[in-house]
Each structure stands twice: as structure tokens, then as C-alpha cells.
């Protein structure tokens, strides 16, 4: 009995801790009167039939502004390859991403920092592998202004924004602690794929932008 109580207390402390780290401002959201019992269906645009895509890409991090072309290719059911090179053709990143890890094939020396690559791994994991299957949201909110539906999945620390009219995923916000919150935005869908994808890590001032060029 005592053990059970301790376990509940620990769980409560853990949930309170995660809630304290929650990066989403609740003042911009209204709690939906509709309960979140009906699970929404959504998935990352990189799932369900995605093979490869070419992007105009820019990365702003600290004092560095890198631009060029990147290619993302699905290499297996559980991996994606990402290559980002400057316009002249010199490679910045050549990496294979898995759900929980990555393999750096080549990283441009000035940005080859383990802590930075770990953040990228976490960001790309959210970008490539997020989906609603098997998950039940804890709460549903409505985004003030746009009217988008916002679902909170507490177990995996993820918010998902849905444009209910277009039935498309417009934003994901994930976090594991106060410092690694990531915002992934999907804009201007055409034929089921966004024309712009933006990954932001506000705490490390990183913005990675992908503009779709072709499959």
C-alpha cells in the first residue's frame, strides 16, 4: 500500500515536472469543450509512401548562416538519409537518421559538435517518425485565431496542430526538457506534401528551413 502511494506520488511529481517544462503558451489556446476521447488521425508527411525529396535549405545557428540544397531519402522503414550541401556542392551534413539514433557519414568540421548533432537527431526523429497511431491525446485545445485543433500527448511530450478543414498536420511541438523544445512547422501543402518545413529550437537559436523543390 505504501509502495503504491509512493509510486503515485512519483508519477505525479514526474507529470508536474514535465508540465513545468511544457514550451507551449496556454494563453494562445482554449481548452476544447469537446473531450479528446476520439483520437485524431495524423502522420508526418515523411511517412506513408514518401520516398525522397529535394529542398532548398538554410540553417541558422549561433552566428552561422548556411544555405544550399538538401535531399531527404527514405532508406528503410526505420531510417532516412539527409544530405545538405552548399550551392557549390560541398557537403555540410551527410547523416542517416533512425528513430532513436543517427549515423554521421560526414559533418562539416565547424558544426561537428556532438551536443548539436544530438539535438538534430531529436528534431529529425520528430520530423520523420511522428504519427498518431497507437497514441491517445490527453487534452484537446483550439488555437485562438486560426481555430486549429491542438492535441496534447503527454506520455511522449508532443503537441500536434491540425488544420481540421484541410485535414493536414501544421505543427508539432516536442520536448524532453526545458532546453530542447522543438517546433516543427508544415506550411502550404500541395498534393499532400508541404512546400515549407521549418524546424526551430528557440533555446539554441537554431532555425532549419526546407523549401520543397521536387521529388
Amino acid at each position: 500500500m505504501f509502495q503504491m502511494r509512493s509510486l503515485i506520488s512519483l508519477n505525479l511529481i514526474f507529470i508536474l515536472f514535465l508540465s513545468a517544462c511544457d514550451p507551449v503558451k496556454k494563453s494562445t489556446l482554449s481548452l476544447s469543450p469537446e473531450t479528446a476521447t476520439k483520437s485524431p488521425v495524423w502522420s508526418s508527411p515523411f511517412m506513408n509512401g514518401f520516398e525522397k525529396a529535394l529542398f532548398r535549405t538554410s540553417l541558422d545557428v549561433a552566428d552561422k548562416h548556411l544555405t544550399g540544397i538538401s535531399i531527404i531519402k527514405k532508406t528503410s522503414d526505420s531510417s532516412f538519409h539527409f544530405t545538405f550541401a552548399n550551392e557549390i556542392g560541398l557537403t555540410y551534413f551527410d547523416m542517416e537518421f533512425y528513430r532513436d539514433t543517427y549515423r554521421p557519414d560526414y559533418i562539416f568540421d565547424p558544426i561537428n559538435k556532438k551536443s548539436f548533432l544530438k539535438i538534430l537527431q531529436s528534431d529529425f526523429s520528430i520530423l520523420f517518425f511522428s504519427e498518431s497511431a497507437g497514441k491517445k491525446p490527453l487534452r484537446k485545445y483550439i488555437q485562438n485565431g486560426s481555430g486549429e485543433a491542438v492535441y496534447l500527448y503527454l506520455g511522449i511530450n508532443l503537441y500536434a496542430w491540425m488544420d481540421t478543414k484541410q485535414n493536414s498536420l501544421t505543427e508539432l511541438v516536442g520536448w524532453s526538457n526545458y532546453f530542447d523544445a522543438v517546433i516543427v512547422g508544415f506550411r502550404e501543402y500541395e498534393n499532400g506534401f508541404p512546400n515549407e518545413i521549418r524546424i526551430m529550437n528557440p533555446k539554441i537559436h537554431m532555425t532549419l528551413t526546407f523549401n520543397f523543390l521536387g521529388h
Binding site: 544555405t67 540544397i69 535531399i71 538519409h81 544530405t83 557549390i88 560541398l90 560526414y106
Partner: protein, 214 residues
């Protein structure tokens, strides 16, 4: 009969091997010096150059290609304009020690003295067009090969800074006018970028305004 067939096959194989050996054997120091001299003389006479280019980046791990196209302008001594048109507009102007980069919504001024990567890229591109890269023994080991229609100059970096990024630069010089037809930059990652020039116009007055940095 069977033995005769085998002998013919072996002789044919030997012939192919000898042909390939002749193709890949570097020129003797005297012949290489002669080719270098001709390239250098042609470069001295090239006051300006205008061409189209096709750039192909080959990605070794995923076996994919990224193709870009655009226009290239060069004017003596150190003016270079790379104007990408495909798959999106992008402009780089090298004007002596300054670099200007313009993409869709951003303009960026870079000082070559403070940016190592751009400085190396600028040196390689200007050196390739002017042929001076072949004499840059401080930074490269150079071997010249005589191919059927071109001279191939294989440059292996000896400079540590360049070696960190590039494992090899290969320049192909046209045998008729000794200008660069093709350039391959092989990276340490195994990827390489091939830049092929076409529609070359030599000494047909490229306006100075093409290299103006706003």
C-alpha cells in the same frame, strides 16, 4: 583450335590492358611541363570568359544526384560571377578580396580574408580558369594525363586545410584552346561535384558591371 582461341583472347586482353595503361599513365615531367606552359600561355591570353555550366553533385551513400545549372563569368585578374538559375536563382560574385552572395531573400557580404572556406573555393575556381592551380605546388601534387580529347590534371591536396574537405580536384583542359572544360571536386566523404562548362565565349567583353558588389 581451342588453344588458338584462348591465345587470341589473351592477346586481345593484353592489348586492352596496354591501351588502358597508356591512357592512365601520367605524362613525363618534360611533356607535363610543355602542357603546363601551353595552358599558362592560353590563360594569359584569356582576359575574360563567359560560359554556361552544369553542376552535378553525386551522393555516394544514397546513390543520388543533385543537378544545378547557370552562367559563369570571369574577368582578369580576380573577378568571378557564378549565376545559378536552376533549381533556384542564387548568385555569388568574387571581386578580389570580397564575396557577395545573394539568394532569394538574403544578401550577404563576406570578406575572403576572414572566411577560409570561401577563400579556398575562390582560389580553386580562379586557379582552375587561369591554369595557375597546376603550378600551385605549395597546396597540391599535380599529375597530368593525356586523354584522347583532353588533358587531365589530377590535383591531390597537400595543404592540411584543403585536405580536410577535398581529397582530389581533377581539371580537364580542352586540347584545342587549353581552357577548362570540366572540373571535378572529390570530397573526403566520397561525394563529388562535377562542373561542366559549355558555350564558352573567350574574350568577348564581359561588362565590369557583372562583378559589381552592391
Amino acid at each position: 583450335m581451342k588453344t588458338a582461341k584462348i591465345l587470341v583472347f589473351i592477346m586481345a586482353l593484353q592489348g586492352v590492358c596496354m591501351f588502358l595503361q597508356a591512357q592512365t599513365k601520367p605524362l613525363s615531367p618534360t611533356d607535363a611541363m610543355d602542357v603546363r606552359k601551353k595552358i599558362s600561355e592560353a590563360a594569359k591570353l584569356t582576359l575574360c570568359l563567359e560560359a554556361q555550366f552544369t553542376q552535378t553533385k553525386e551522393l555516394s551513400v544514397i546513390k543520388e544526384k543533385i543537378i544545378s545549372k547557370g552562367n559563369f563569368y570571369f574577368k582578369k585578374e580576380k573577378l568571378l560571377r557564378w549565376e545559378y538559375t536552376d533549381p533556384f536563382p542564387y548568385l555569388i560574385i568574387f571581386n578580389n578580396d570580397k564575396v557577395f552572395v545573394k539568394d532569394e531573400d538574403k544578401e550577404n557580404h563576406i570578406n575572403l580574408q576572414s572566411n577560409k572556406v570561401f577563400r579556398e573555393v575562390n582560389n580553386i575556381l580562379i586557379g582552375a580558369v587561369q591554369g595557375s592551380l597546376l603550378s600551385d605546388t605549395k597546396n597540391f601534387d599535380c599529375s597530368i594525363f593525356d586523354l584522347r580529347d583532353e588533358y587531365q590534371a589530377t590535383m591531390i591536396p597537400v595543404n592540411l586545410r584543403i585536405k580536410e574537405t577535398l581529397s582530389e580536384i581533377i581539371l580537364y583542359f580542352n586540347k584545342s584552346d587549353y581552357t577548362v572544360d570540366k572540373l571535378i571536386m572529390r570530397e573526403v566523404s566520397g561525394d563529388y561535384t562535377r562542373i561542366e562548362f559549355s558555350g564558352k565565349k573567350i574574350n568577348q567583353n564581359v561588362p565590369d558591371a557583372k562583378f559589381n558588389i552592391p
